[in-house]
Symmetry: C2
Subunit: 314 residues, 2 copies
């Protein structure tokens, strides 16, 4: 089956023609220019969709439907909200369906990422799984019987917004101590900066122009090289992440927990530590079967996932 | 349809013949005497089942199957574990099926309670729900599409064992800061005892022989009467409980959150406060639709729920 996958982000729009067996057949992208009026951004999506269809060898009639993965939500009434794009209740699905003459399905990017891994990546074959995407925040998805579990208003899956430290660090969602304040890439950077203050000898001070510019990868690299500030920050981060993962295992008892986002590139240096910490604290032997694995899909994850949003929607 | 429901607890075994439309037709109970060998406890269950069938007007052939709700788990291999009964891998289901000549289904008591509310109580009509049973610990159940969500090894639903205060109070499960250390009846009692130390004028000091004997209800009653220690403890408790509930709403976006256990008898005094706190901190308007309600079933909850474990198993 062939779908169009639209990876709609705050900086880029990437669109691909996706064969559910073979993967991406052809893809194109353009900048989002998110400050533009909704109609213009929407038109860019339409133009890209038409262009990828034209430039691939696929007949337009063979395309089942269009899936969109984006950092936003669609209400049950069909209104799309997206802070990054300044959309407060636009009729994206309806508008695209009219202009593209195909069914359109919208889901958030974390759900799309999980569906991509389920079809093409490291969640292949898993019936029950959790996906955590560690980036600026923590995106989440729960898979039950190979489908996204999204709840009554399709607004579930906010795994980054469960209380992890009651009364802890202020979160943008309005509450305090949400998991994403302790397990996102942003959180690791904050921990690195804090430990660097206590370690004037840390390489973090001289690596970039200022401490404000260090990345999560800088801290992981520093921890590998035994820089004391990086080692301490990475240790705290792994402790938090493991404790968060165990909570989800106790609740949902998934077959696999898949970790995405740039941090998952840290590989066994991260995963060996997290797996060991989780195994030390499992609730019962029945909770100790869960595999903790990195996401497989990298650059094309957004397009592949968005196409699978369409497949799941059908 | 008619089922046998077995409410198997550490102190009592209660068994009822349950009509899925009309409720309990006849019930009987006996002490568990949990120190006895497994075979004897199992025989007591068999005897009670045979007795309720004999003493009800129901023909044995019209009974579909037998459901058991208990503070334990059955592994996918059919071995039952229950700390309260000192069972470490007994073949309860197989043994009962042989002696009763009926199919037997086993689930934990929190799942059974949720299924009881779903069929006979305040979760009637809910497709997506969460149930929290606040007692010595916190039992949990997630309902998706009117079925218990139990995960890969059927070991999910441990909603009391998600991290709520990372590094917080030691939990019996081995980890620290689990939600049940802050939102169980036991937790409320601890908070009452702690605040009583700071309030020598509190009625908690004279209510019972010692502070060790106060109950969760004593603290709720004291808070109603504006006893300062009780007010402070109850306020903290409601704050914790609300924050825990919002986490589950953000994750699972359920239609209803049902609270069971003795504490739910506190009624609007508890629920008005919890609802207000939750509404003040919802993640998006889509997360603000969830109803937070008390459990309806009281004394017969165990038998009704166990019978619905059988119904769900069929």
């Amino acid at each position: 089956m062939i779908y169009i996958g639209v990876d709609l982000g705050g900086t880029h729009i990437a669109v691909g023609v996706v064969d559910s067996e073979k993967g991406i057949l052809h893809k194109e992208e353009c900048p989002t220019l998110a400050h533009r009026p909704y109609e213009e951004v929407m038109q860019s999506i339409v133009d890209l969709c038409k262009s990828v269809i034209k430039n691939s060898d696929v007949n337009v009639d063979s395309i089942e439907s269009v899936g969109i993965g984006m950092p936003g939500i669609e209400t049950p009434e069909g209104l799309t909200h997206c802070k990054n794009l300044f959309w407060h209740g636009v009729t994206l699905r309806k508008d695209l369906e009219k202009l593209l003459e195909k069914s359109v399905y919208i889901d958030n990017d974390a759900h799309a990422a999980a569906l991509g891994e389920l079809e093409f990546g490291n969640l292949k074959g898993a019936d029950e799984a959790i996906m955590l995407t560690l980036g600026t925040g923590v995106g989440g998805a729960m898979i039950v019987n190979r489908r996204i579990l999204s709840g009554y208003n399709h607004a579930g899956g906010e795994l980054g917004h469960v209380t992890f430290v009651h009364g802890g660090i202020q979160c943008a969602c309005g509450r305090k101590g949400c998991l994403e304040k302790y397990t996102s890439a942003t959180a690791l950077i904050r921990m690195g900066q804090e430990y660097a203050q206590k370690h004037p000898e840390s390489k973090l001070h001289t690596l970039k122009g200022s401490l404000d510019e260090i990345s999560a990868k800088d801290i992981v690299d520093g921890a590998r090289e035994k820089d004391a500030a990086c080692v301490a920050a990475f240790e705290d981060f792994c402790e938090y992440l493991s404790d968060g993962i165990i909570s989800f295992i106790n609740m949902l008892n998934p077959q696999k927990v898949c970790i995405g986002g740039g941090l998952s590139n840290a590989g066994d240096f991260l995963f060996d530590k997290v797996r060991k910490k989780c195994t030390e604290r499992y609730f019962s032997p029945l909770h100790n079967d869960t595999e903790i694995i990195p996401a497989l899909l990298k650059n094309d994850a957004g397009i592949l996932g968005a196409a699978m949003v369409a497949k799941q929607g059908e």
